[in-house]
Protein backbone atom coordinates (compact mmCIF):
# COMPACT_ATOMS: atom_id res chain seq x y z
CA UNK A 1 0.00 0.00 0.00
CA UNK A 2 1.23 3.45 -0.89
CA UNK A 3 0.44 4.68 2.60
CA UNK A 4 2.97 2.31 4.08
CA UNK A 5 5.70 3.66 1.81
CA UNK A 6 4.81 7.19 2.78
CA UNK A 7 5.01 6.26 6.45
CA UNK A 8 8.44 4.71 6.16
CA UNK A 9 10.10 7.05 3.67
CA UNK A 10 10.42 9.85 6.21
CA UNK A 11 7.82 12.18 4.79
CA UNK A 12 7.30 13.70 8.19
CA UNK A 13 7.39 17.31 6.98
CA UNK A 14 4.43 17.31 4.55
CA UNK A 15 2.35 15.33 7.03
CA UNK A 16 3.27 17.76 9.77
CA UNK A 17 2.27 20.67 7.55
CA UNK A 18 -1.03 18.92 6.81
CA UNK A 19 -1.87 18.54 10.49
CA UNK A 20 -0.91 22.18 11.16
CA UNK A 21 -3.25 23.27 8.33
CA UNK A 22 -6.10 21.15 9.74
CA UNK A 23 -5.56 22.51 13.26
CA UNK A 24 -5.38 26.09 11.99
CA UNK A 25 -8.67 25.62 10.13
CA UNK A 26 -10.25 24.26 13.30
CA UNK A 27 -8.99 27.21 15.32
CA UNK A 28 -10.26 29.69 12.72
CA UNK A 29 -13.66 27.99 12.78
CA UNK A 30 -13.73 28.08 16.59
CA UNK A 31 -12.78 31.75 16.78
CA UNK A 32 -15.01 32.83 13.88
CA UNK A 33 -18.14 32.44 15.98
CA UNK A 34 -20.00 30.69 13.12
CA UNK A 35 -20.69 27.73 15.39
CA UNK A 36 -21.33 27.83 19.12
CA UNK A 37 -18.07 28.27 20.97
CA UNK A 38 -18.94 25.43 23.35
CA UNK A 39 -19.50 23.00 20.52
CA UNK A 40 -16.35 23.76 18.54
CA UNK A 41 -13.99 24.89 21.30
CA UNK A 42 -10.67 26.53 20.48
CA UNK A 43 -7.55 24.38 20.65
CA UNK A 44 -6.42 25.60 24.06
CA UNK A 45 -9.77 24.45 25.54
CA UNK A 46 -9.28 21.05 23.87
CA UNK A 47 -5.81 20.71 25.37
CA UNK A 48 -7.21 21.63 28.79
CA UNK A 49 -9.97 19.02 28.37
CA UNK A 50 -7.51 16.36 27.18
CA UNK A 51 -5.09 16.97 30.05
CA UNK A 52 -8.04 17.14 32.45
CA UNK A 53 -9.08 13.66 31.36
CA UNK A 54 -5.53 12.31 31.67
CA UNK A 55 -5.02 13.60 35.23
CA UNK A 56 -8.43 12.55 36.60
CA UNK A 57 -8.29 9.34 38.67
CA UNK A 58 -11.76 8.12 37.62
CA UNK A 59 -10.56 8.07 33.98
CA UNK A 60 -8.07 5.31 34.84
CA UNK A 61 -10.65 3.38 36.83
CA UNK A 62 -13.05 3.45 33.88
CA UNK A 63 -10.26 2.74 31.39
CA UNK A 64 -9.37 -0.37 33.40
CA UNK A 65 -12.97 -1.58 33.25
CA UNK A 66 -13.22 -1.02 29.49
CA UNK A 67 -9.91 -2.83 28.98
CA UNK A 68 -11.00 -5.74 31.14
CA UNK A 69 -14.20 -6.03 29.10
CA UNK A 70 -12.19 -5.80 25.90
CA UNK A 71 -9.73 -8.49 26.98
CA UNK A 72 -12.52 -10.88 27.97
CA UNK A 73 -14.28 -10.15 24.68
CA UNK A 74 -11.13 -10.82 22.65
CA UNK A 75 -10.38 -14.00 24.59
CA UNK A 76 -13.89 -15.40 24.15
CA UNK A 77 -14.62 -14.19 20.63
CA UNK A 78 -11.05 -14.84 19.51
CA UNK A 79 -10.98 -18.41 20.75
CA UNK A 80 -14.36 -19.18 19.18
CA UNK A 81 -13.25 -17.49 15.97
CA UNK A 82 -9.99 -19.45 15.93
CA UNK A 83 -11.72 -22.82 16.39
CA UNK A 84 -14.46 -22.09 13.84
CA UNK A 85 -11.92 -20.64 11.41
CA UNK A 86 -9.67 -23.71 11.69
CA UNK A 87 -12.63 -26.05 11.06
CA UNK A 88 -13.87 -24.01 8.09
CA UNK A 89 -10.38 -23.76 6.65
CA UNK A 90 -9.73 -27.48 7.02
CA UNK A 91 -12.94 -28.72 5.40
CA UNK A 92 -13.93 -27.61 1.93
CA UNK A 93 -17.48 -28.85 2.51
CA UNK A 94 -17.93 -26.93 5.78
CA UNK A 95 -16.44 -23.85 4.18
CA UNK A 96 -18.94 -23.95 1.32
CA UNK A 97 -21.85 -24.70 3.66
CA UNK A 98 -21.22 -22.09 6.35
CA UNK A 99 -18.66 -19.52 5.26
CA UNK A 100 -21.04 -17.46 3.08
CA UNK A 101 -23.18 -16.97 6.19
CA UNK A 102 -20.18 -15.71 8.12
CA UNK A 103 -19.27 -13.40 5.26
CA UNK A 104 -22.73 -11.87 5.13
CA UNK A 105 -23.32 -11.72 8.88
CA UNK A 106 -19.87 -10.21 9.41
CA UNK A 107 -20.61 -6.69 8.19
CA UNK A 108 -24.12 -6.36 9.64
CA UNK A 109 -24.29 -3.86 12.51
CA UNK A 110 -23.66 -5.93 15.66
CA UNK A 111 -24.84 -3.31 18.13
CA UNK A 112 -28.48 -4.16 17.34
CA UNK A 113 -27.92 -7.48 19.15
CA UNK A 114 -27.27 -5.60 22.39
CA UNK A 115 -30.88 -5.85 23.71
CA UNK A 116 -30.67 -9.64 23.45
CA UNK A 117 -27.27 -9.71 25.16
CA UNK A 118 -28.67 -7.62 28.03
CA UNK A 119 -31.43 -10.21 28.46
CA UNK A 120 -28.94 -13.07 28.47
CA UNK A 121 -26.07 -11.54 30.44
CA UNK A 122 -27.58 -8.71 32.46
CA UNK A 123 -26.89 -4.97 32.48
CA UNK A 124 -23.37 -5.24 33.98
CA UNK A 125 -19.97 -5.79 32.40
CA UNK A 126 -20.91 -9.27 31.12
CA UNK A 127 -23.22 -7.96 28.40
CA UNK A 128 -20.45 -5.60 27.17
CA UNK A 129 -17.98 -8.50 27.06
CA UNK A 130 -20.53 -10.49 25.05
CA UNK A 131 -21.06 -7.54 22.71
CA UNK A 132 -17.32 -7.32 22.04
CA UNK A 133 -16.99 -11.09 21.67
CA UNK A 134 -19.80 -11.30 19.11
CA UNK A 135 -18.24 -8.39 17.20
CA UNK A 136 -14.74 -9.82 16.98
CA UNK A 137 -15.78 -13.42 16.31
CA UNK A 138 -16.60 -12.79 12.63
CA UNK A 139 -13.46 -11.07 11.30
CA UNK A 140 -11.24 -13.47 13.27
CA UNK A 141 -13.05 -16.61 12.02
CA UNK A 142 -12.93 -15.34 8.42
CA UNK A 143 -9.22 -14.41 8.57
CA UNK A 144 -8.28 -17.72 10.21
CA UNK A 145 -10.22 -19.74 7.61
CA UNK A 146 -8.52 -17.84 4.79
CA UNK A 147 -5.18 -18.27 6.57
CA UNK A 148 -5.56 -22.06 6.81
CA UNK A 149 -6.27 -22.27 3.08
CA UNK A 150 -3.28 -20.04 2.35
CA UNK A 151 -0.74 -22.29 4.08
CA UNK A 152 1.89 -23.49 1.60
CA UNK A 153 1.07 -27.14 0.68
CA UNK A 154 4.80 -27.95 0.75
CA UNK A 155 4.88 -27.22 4.48
CA UNK A 156 1.94 -29.56 5.01
CA UNK A 157 3.72 -32.30 3.07
CA UNK A 158 6.84 -31.84 5.21
CA UNK A 159 4.71 -32.18 8.32
CA UNK A 160 3.02 -35.31 7.04
CA UNK A 161 6.28 -36.91 5.96
CA UNK A 162 7.52 -36.42 9.52
CA UNK A 163 4.29 -38.11 10.66
CA UNK A 164 3.33 -35.13 12.79
CA UNK A 165 0.30 -35.63 15.01
CA UNK A 166 -2.68 -33.27 14.68
CA UNK A 167 -1.56 -31.10 17.60
CA UNK A 168 1.99 -30.97 16.24
CA UNK A 169 0.69 -30.03 12.80
CA UNK A 170 -1.35 -27.27 14.40
CA UNK A 171 1.39 -25.81 16.61
CA UNK A 172 4.46 -26.41 14.43
CA UNK A 173 3.09 -26.04 10.90
CA UNK A 174 -0.24 -24.23 10.68
CA UNK A 175 0.06 -21.51 13.32
CA UNK A 176 3.61 -20.35 12.40
CA UNK A 177 2.66 -20.30 8.72
CA UNK A 178 -0.43 -18.26 9.52
CA UNK A 179 1.15 -15.44 11.54
CA UNK A 180 0.19 -12.73 9.04
CA UNK A 181 -3.50 -13.63 8.68
CA UNK A 182 -3.71 -14.22 12.45
CA UNK A 183 -2.34 -10.75 13.17
CA UNK A 184 -4.66 -9.32 10.57
CA UNK A 185 -7.62 -11.04 12.20
CA UNK A 186 -6.49 -9.74 15.58
CA UNK A 187 -6.28 -6.24 14.15
CA UNK A 188 -9.78 -6.32 12.64
CA UNK A 189 -11.15 -8.11 15.70
CA UNK A 190 -9.64 -5.61 18.12
CA UNK A 191 -11.13 -2.70 16.19
CA UNK A 192 -14.69 -4.02 16.07
CA UNK A 193 -14.55 -5.40 19.64
CA UNK A 194 -13.51 -1.97 20.94
CA UNK A 195 -16.33 -0.31 19.02
CA UNK A 196 -18.81 -2.92 20.29
CA UNK A 197 -17.76 -2.54 23.92
CA UNK A 198 -17.74 1.26 23.84
CA UNK A 199 -21.06 1.61 22.00
CA UNK A 200 -22.68 -0.82 24.42
CA UNK A 201 -21.32 1.30 27.28
CA UNK A 202 -22.85 4.44 25.81
CA UNK A 203 -26.25 2.75 25.39
CA UNK A 204 -26.61 1.30 28.89
CA UNK A 205 -23.91 1.31 31.55
CA UNK A 206 -22.67 2.88 34.75
CA UNK A 207 -18.94 2.53 34.13
CA UNK A 208 -16.31 2.43 31.41
CA UNK A 209 -15.05 4.91 28.82
CA UNK A 210 -18.32 4.84 26.85
CA UNK A 211 -20.22 5.75 30.00
CA UNK A 212 -17.80 8.64 30.65
CA UNK A 213 -18.43 10.00 27.13
CA UNK A 214 -22.20 9.84 27.67
CA UNK A 215 -21.83 11.41 31.11
CA UNK A 216 -19.84 14.33 29.67
CA UNK A 217 -22.46 14.67 26.91
CA UNK A 218 -25.30 14.87 29.41
CA UNK A 219 -23.50 17.50 31.48
CA UNK A 220 -22.59 19.35 28.29
CA UNK A 221 -18.93 19.27 29.34
CA UNK A 222 -17.61 19.57 25.79
CA UNK A 223 -13.85 19.85 26.47
CA UNK A 224 -14.04 16.69 28.59
CA UNK A 225 -16.01 14.87 25.89
CA UNK A 226 -13.48 15.88 23.22
CA UNK A 227 -10.67 14.72 25.51
CA UNK A 228 -12.33 11.32 26.01
CA UNK A 229 -13.02 10.93 22.29
CA UNK A 230 -9.44 11.82 21.37
CA UNK A 231 -8.18 9.20 23.84
CA UNK A 232 -10.51 6.39 22.73
CA UNK A 233 -10.31 7.02 18.97
CA UNK A 234 -6.54 7.41 19.39
CA UNK A 235 -6.20 4.05 21.16
CA UNK A 236 -8.19 2.32 18.41
CA UNK A 237 -6.26 3.95 15.56
CA UNK A 238 -2.81 3.35 17.09
CA UNK A 239 -3.47 -0.34 17.85
CA UNK A 240 -4.87 -0.79 14.34
CA UNK A 241 -1.79 0.72 12.69
CA UNK A 242 0.71 -1.13 14.91
CA UNK A 243 -0.94 -4.51 14.23
CA UNK A 244 -1.13 -3.75 10.51
CA UNK A 245 2.61 -3.04 10.48
CA UNK A 246 3.32 -6.27 12.36
CA UNK A 247 1.11 -8.25 9.96
CA UNK A 248 2.87 -6.80 6.92
CA UNK A 249 6.31 -7.45 8.40
CA UNK A 250 5.36 -10.98 9.41
CA UNK A 251 3.97 -11.96 6.05
CA UNK A 252 5.46 -9.50 3.54
CA UNK A 253 1.97 -9.70 2.17
CA UNK A 254 -0.45 -6.99 1.17
CA UNK A 255 -2.84 -6.14 3.99
CA UNK A 256 -6.29 -7.63 3.52
CA UNK A 257 -8.85 -4.99 2.85
CA UNK A 258 -12.23 -5.14 4.44
Amino acid sequence: MATQEALTKGLALPRLIAIVVILAMWQALALSGLLFRDVVPPLEALVVGFVGVLISPDFYANLAITFAELLAALAGGGLAGLVVGLCLGASRFASKAFEPWLGYLGPTPKIILFPLLILMFGVGVESKMAMGAVSCFFPIAISVAAGVRGVDPVLLKVGRSFRARLDQMLIKIYLPAMIAPLLNGARLGFGVALIGVLLAETKLSKQGLGFMVMDAYQRFDMPRMYGLLIVSVGIAAVVNIVLEHLAIQAGHKKPTKH
Binding site: A94, P115, L119, M225
Partner: protein, 249 residues
Protein backbone atom coordinates in the same frame (compact mmCIF):
# COMPACT_ATOMS: atom_id res chain seq x y z
CA UNK B 1 -26.14 -31.19 -7.99
CA UNK B 2 -22.92 -31.65 -6.03
CA UNK B 3 -22.30 -27.92 -6.31
CA UNK B 4 -25.58 -27.16 -4.56
CA UNK B 5 -25.11 -29.73 -1.82
CA UNK B 6 -22.92 -27.78 0.65
CA UNK B 7 -25.04 -24.58 0.63
CA UNK B 8 -28.20 -26.68 0.98
CA UNK B 9 -26.62 -28.47 3.93
CA UNK B 10 -25.81 -25.11 5.51
CA UNK B 11 -29.41 -23.91 5.21
CA UNK B 12 -30.67 -27.25 6.51
CA UNK B 13 -28.43 -26.96 9.58
CA UNK B 14 -29.83 -23.52 10.40
CA UNK B 15 -33.42 -24.75 10.02
CA UNK B 16 -32.61 -27.77 12.22
CA UNK B 17 -31.08 -25.46 14.81
CA UNK B 18 -34.24 -23.35 14.91
CA UNK B 19 -36.39 -26.49 15.31
CA UNK B 20 -34.13 -27.67 18.16
CA UNK B 21 -34.46 -24.25 19.77
CA UNK B 22 -38.26 -24.47 19.51
CA UNK B 23 -38.23 -27.87 21.21
CA UNK B 24 -35.78 -26.74 23.90
CA UNK B 25 -37.96 -23.75 24.76
CA UNK B 26 -41.13 -25.85 24.83
CA UNK B 27 -39.39 -28.37 27.05
CA UNK B 28 -38.37 -25.54 29.38
CA UNK B 29 -34.61 -25.98 28.88
CA UNK B 30 -34.29 -22.46 27.44
CA UNK B 31 -36.10 -19.64 29.23
CA UNK B 32 -38.95 -18.35 27.06
CA UNK B 33 -38.51 -14.89 28.62
CA UNK B 34 -35.03 -14.69 27.13
CA UNK B 35 -35.47 -16.50 23.82
CA UNK B 36 -39.06 -16.50 22.55
CA UNK B 37 -40.38 -19.33 20.39
CA UNK B 38 -39.18 -19.07 16.77
CA UNK B 39 -42.81 -19.55 15.70
CA UNK B 40 -43.80 -16.55 17.85
CA UNK B 41 -41.07 -14.52 16.14
CA UNK B 42 -42.52 -15.41 12.75
CA UNK B 43 -46.04 -14.67 13.99
CA UNK B 44 -45.00 -11.17 15.05
CA UNK B 45 -43.93 -10.22 11.51
CA UNK B 46 -47.39 -9.12 10.25
CA UNK B 47 -47.81 -7.05 13.40
CA UNK B 48 -44.47 -5.35 12.75
CA UNK B 49 -45.53 -4.46 9.22
CA UNK B 50 -48.95 -3.15 10.21
CA UNK B 51 -48.38 -1.46 13.54
CA UNK B 52 -44.72 -0.50 13.40
CA UNK B 53 -44.67 0.75 9.80
CA UNK B 54 -41.75 -1.43 8.78
CA UNK B 55 -42.11 -0.44 5.13
CA UNK B 56 -41.82 3.26 5.91
CA UNK B 57 -38.85 2.55 8.19
CA UNK B 58 -37.14 0.71 5.33
CA UNK B 59 -37.57 3.87 3.31
CA UNK B 60 -36.07 6.07 6.01
CA UNK B 61 -33.05 3.82 6.57
CA UNK B 62 -32.42 3.36 2.84
CA UNK B 63 -32.81 7.07 2.19
CA UNK B 64 -30.26 7.92 4.88
CA UNK B 65 -27.86 5.23 3.68
CA UNK B 66 -28.07 6.32 0.05
CA UNK B 67 -27.70 10.02 0.86
CA UNK B 68 -24.63 9.37 3.00
CA UNK B 69 -23.10 6.92 0.49
CA UNK B 70 -23.66 9.14 -2.56
CA UNK B 71 -22.42 12.21 -0.70
CA UNK B 72 -19.29 10.26 0.24
CA UNK B 73 -18.92 9.21 -3.42
CA UNK B 74 -19.09 12.77 -4.78
CA UNK B 75 -16.88 14.36 -2.12
CA UNK B 76 -14.54 11.36 -1.92
CA UNK B 77 -13.91 11.08 -5.66
CA UNK B 78 -13.33 14.83 -5.92
CA UNK B 79 -10.89 14.77 -2.98
CA UNK B 80 -9.17 11.63 -4.27
CA UNK B 81 -8.67 13.12 -7.72
CA UNK B 82 -7.37 16.35 -6.25
CA UNK B 83 -4.89 14.47 -4.06
CA UNK B 84 -3.84 12.31 -7.00
CA UNK B 85 -3.35 15.43 -9.13
CA UNK B 86 -1.07 17.19 -6.62
CA UNK B 87 1.44 14.56 -5.40
CA UNK B 88 2.63 16.80 -2.58
CA UNK B 89 -0.88 17.11 -1.21
CA UNK B 90 -1.28 13.37 -1.56
CA UNK B 91 1.87 12.67 0.44
CA UNK B 92 0.71 15.11 3.09
CA UNK B 93 -2.89 14.02 3.43
CA UNK B 94 -3.15 10.35 2.38
CA UNK B 95 -1.81 9.00 5.72
CA UNK B 96 -4.39 11.09 7.52
CA UNK B 97 -7.14 9.57 5.43
CA UNK B 98 -5.75 6.11 6.21
CA UNK B 99 -5.92 7.08 9.89
CA UNK B 100 -9.48 8.34 9.39
CA UNK B 101 -10.42 5.01 7.80
CA UNK B 102 -9.02 3.18 10.84
CA UNK B 103 -10.65 5.48 13.39
CA UNK B 104 -13.97 4.33 14.86
CA UNK B 105 -15.84 7.54 14.12
CA UNK B 106 -19.20 6.17 15.23
CA UNK B 107 -17.96 6.39 18.82
CA UNK B 108 -18.13 10.17 18.49
CA UNK B 109 -21.89 10.10 17.96
CA UNK B 110 -22.62 12.16 21.11
CA UNK B 111 -20.42 14.87 19.60
CA UNK B 112 -22.38 14.79 16.33
CA UNK B 113 -25.60 14.97 18.37
CA UNK B 114 -24.40 18.24 19.86
CA UNK B 115 -23.28 19.60 16.49
CA UNK B 116 -26.31 18.70 14.39
CA UNK B 117 -29.11 17.99 16.87
CA UNK B 118 -31.06 14.77 17.26
CA UNK B 119 -32.17 14.47 13.64
CA UNK B 120 -31.72 12.54 10.42
CA UNK B 121 -28.96 14.99 9.53
CA UNK B 122 -26.80 13.70 12.41
CA UNK B 123 -27.23 10.12 11.21
CA UNK B 124 -26.34 11.05 7.63
CA UNK B 125 -23.29 13.07 8.71
CA UNK B 126 -21.89 10.22 10.84
CA UNK B 127 -22.46 7.71 8.04
CA UNK B 128 -20.91 10.10 5.53
CA UNK B 129 -17.85 10.67 7.73
CA UNK B 130 -17.32 6.91 8.08
CA UNK B 131 -17.82 6.28 4.36
CA UNK B 132 -15.60 9.09 3.05
CA UNK B 133 -12.10 7.73 3.71
CA UNK B 134 -12.49 4.45 1.75
CA UNK B 135 -13.76 6.34 -1.31
CA UNK B 136 -10.83 8.77 -1.18
CA UNK B 137 -8.27 5.98 -0.76
CA UNK B 138 -9.80 3.79 -3.49
CA UNK B 139 -10.02 6.72 -5.92
CA UNK B 140 -6.33 7.49 -5.40
CA UNK B 141 -5.50 3.81 -5.85
CA UNK B 142 -7.63 3.61 -8.99
CA UNK B 143 -5.88 6.50 -10.72
CA UNK B 144 -2.42 5.62 -9.38
CA UNK B 145 -2.47 2.03 -10.65
CA UNK B 146 -3.49 2.72 -14.26
CA UNK B 147 -1.13 0.85 -16.57
CA UNK B 148 1.29 3.35 -18.16
CA UNK B 149 0.82 1.72 -21.56
CA UNK B 150 -2.78 2.97 -21.65
CA UNK B 151 -1.61 6.52 -21.07
CA UNK B 152 1.04 6.08 -23.79
CA UNK B 153 -1.67 5.02 -26.23
CA UNK B 154 -3.49 8.26 -25.44
CA UNK B 155 -0.33 10.29 -26.04
CA UNK B 156 0.38 8.57 -29.35
CA UNK B 157 -3.16 9.40 -30.50
CA UNK B 158 -2.52 13.02 -29.51
CA UNK B 159 -5.52 13.17 -27.24
CA UNK B 160 -6.31 16.40 -25.46
CA UNK B 161 -6.24 16.29 -21.66
CA UNK B 162 -10.04 16.19 -21.53
CA UNK B 163 -10.16 13.29 -24.01
CA UNK B 164 -7.41 11.48 -22.14
CA UNK B 165 -9.38 11.82 -18.92
CA UNK B 166 -12.76 10.85 -20.37
CA UNK B 167 -11.62 7.99 -22.63
CA UNK B 168 -8.66 6.52 -20.74
CA UNK B 169 -8.15 7.60 -17.14
CA UNK B 170 -11.74 7.51 -15.92
CA UNK B 171 -12.70 4.12 -17.42
CA UNK B 172 -9.46 2.58 -16.13
CA UNK B 173 -10.02 3.89 -12.61
CA UNK B 174 -13.74 3.13 -12.50
CA UNK B 175 -13.65 -0.45 -11.16
CA UNK B 176 -11.52 0.64 -8.19
CA UNK B 177 -13.82 3.62 -7.57
CA UNK B 178 -16.76 1.24 -7.54
CA UNK B 179 -15.00 -0.84 -4.87
CA UNK B 180 -14.79 2.41 -2.90
CA UNK B 181 -18.50 3.05 -3.44
CA UNK B 182 -19.37 -0.47 -2.33
CA UNK B 183 -17.36 -0.03 0.88
CA UNK B 184 -18.93 3.40 1.38
CA UNK B 185 -22.48 2.03 1.14
CA UNK B 186 -21.67 -0.86 3.49
CA UNK B 187 -20.10 1.47 6.07
CA UNK B 188 -23.02 3.89 5.63
CA UNK B 189 -25.63 1.18 6.26
CA UNK B 190 -23.82 -0.15 9.35
CA UNK B 191 -23.51 3.32 10.81
CA UNK B 192 -27.04 4.41 9.91
CA UNK B 193 -28.66 1.37 11.55
CA UNK B 194 -26.28 1.49 14.53
CA UNK B 195 -26.83 5.17 15.25
CA UNK B 196 -30.60 4.85 14.71
CA UNK B 197 -30.53 2.19 17.40
CA UNK B 198 -28.25 4.13 19.74
CA UNK B 199 -30.09 7.45 19.63
CA UNK B 200 -33.54 5.84 19.19
CA UNK B 201 -34.44 7.84 16.10
CA UNK B 202 -35.47 7.11 12.52
CA UNK B 203 -35.88 3.79 10.71
CA UNK B 204 -35.07 0.14 11.32
CA UNK B 205 -32.52 0.70 14.10
CA UNK B 206 -35.07 2.60 16.16
CA UNK B 207 -37.59 -0.21 15.73
CA UNK B 208 -35.29 -2.61 17.60
CA UNK B 209 -34.57 -0.08 20.32
CA UNK B 210 -38.27 0.66 20.84
CA UNK B 211 -39.48 -2.92 20.83
CA UNK B 212 -36.79 -3.98 23.32
CA UNK B 213 -37.66 -1.08 25.61
CA UNK B 214 -41.30 -2.22 25.48
CA UNK B 215 -40.06 -5.70 26.35
CA UNK B 216 -41.75 -7.09 23.23
CA UNK B 217 -39.41 -10.06 22.91
CA UNK B 218 -40.75 -11.85 19.80
CA UNK B 219 -40.93 -8.45 18.09
CA UNK B 220 -37.35 -7.57 19.09
CA UNK B 221 -35.97 -10.87 17.82
CA UNK B 222 -38.02 -10.68 14.62
CA UNK B 223 -36.94 -7.12 13.89
CA UNK B 224 -33.28 -7.99 14.48
CA UNK B 225 -33.68 -10.89 12.03
CA UNK B 226 -35.32 -8.51 9.59
CA UNK B 227 -32.47 -5.99 9.78
CA UNK B 228 -29.90 -8.75 9.31
CA UNK B 229 -31.77 -10.00 6.22
CA UNK B 230 -32.05 -6.49 4.80
CA UNK B 231 -28.31 -5.93 5.29
CA UNK B 232 -27.48 -9.26 3.65
CA UNK B 233 -29.70 -8.46 0.63
CA UNK B 234 -28.04 -5.07 0.39
CA UNK B 235 -24.55 -6.62 0.36
CA UNK B 236 -25.61 -9.22 -2.23
CA UNK B 237 -26.98 -6.45 -4.44
CA UNK B 238 -23.71 -4.51 -4.20
CA UNK B 239 -21.66 -7.64 -4.92
CA UNK B 240 -23.80 -8.34 -7.97
CA UNK B 241 -23.44 -4.74 -9.13
CA UNK B 242 -19.69 -4.89 -8.87
CA UNK B 243 -19.46 -8.20 -10.74
CA UNK B 244 -21.72 -6.83 -13.48
CA UNK B 245 -19.54 -3.75 -13.82
CA UNK B 246 -16.33 -5.79 -13.97
CA UNK B 247 -17.78 -8.05 -16.68
CA UNK B 248 -18.58 -5.05 -18.85
CA UNK B 249 -14.97 -3.89 -18.69
Amino acid sequence: MSRLLPPAFGVLCIVALLCLLQLAIQAGIVDVYIVPLPTDMLASLPRLVEEEHVIRRFGVTFGETLSAGLLALVVGVALGMALQHWPRMRRAFEPWFALLAAAPLVMAYPLFLVLFGRSSLTIIVIAFASALAPVVLKTIEGFATIRPVLIDVGHSLRMTRAQEFRLILLPAALPEIFVGLRLALIFALINVVGVEFLINLGGLGQLISELSERYDLPGTWASIGLVVIVSILFFLLLDGGERWLRKRH
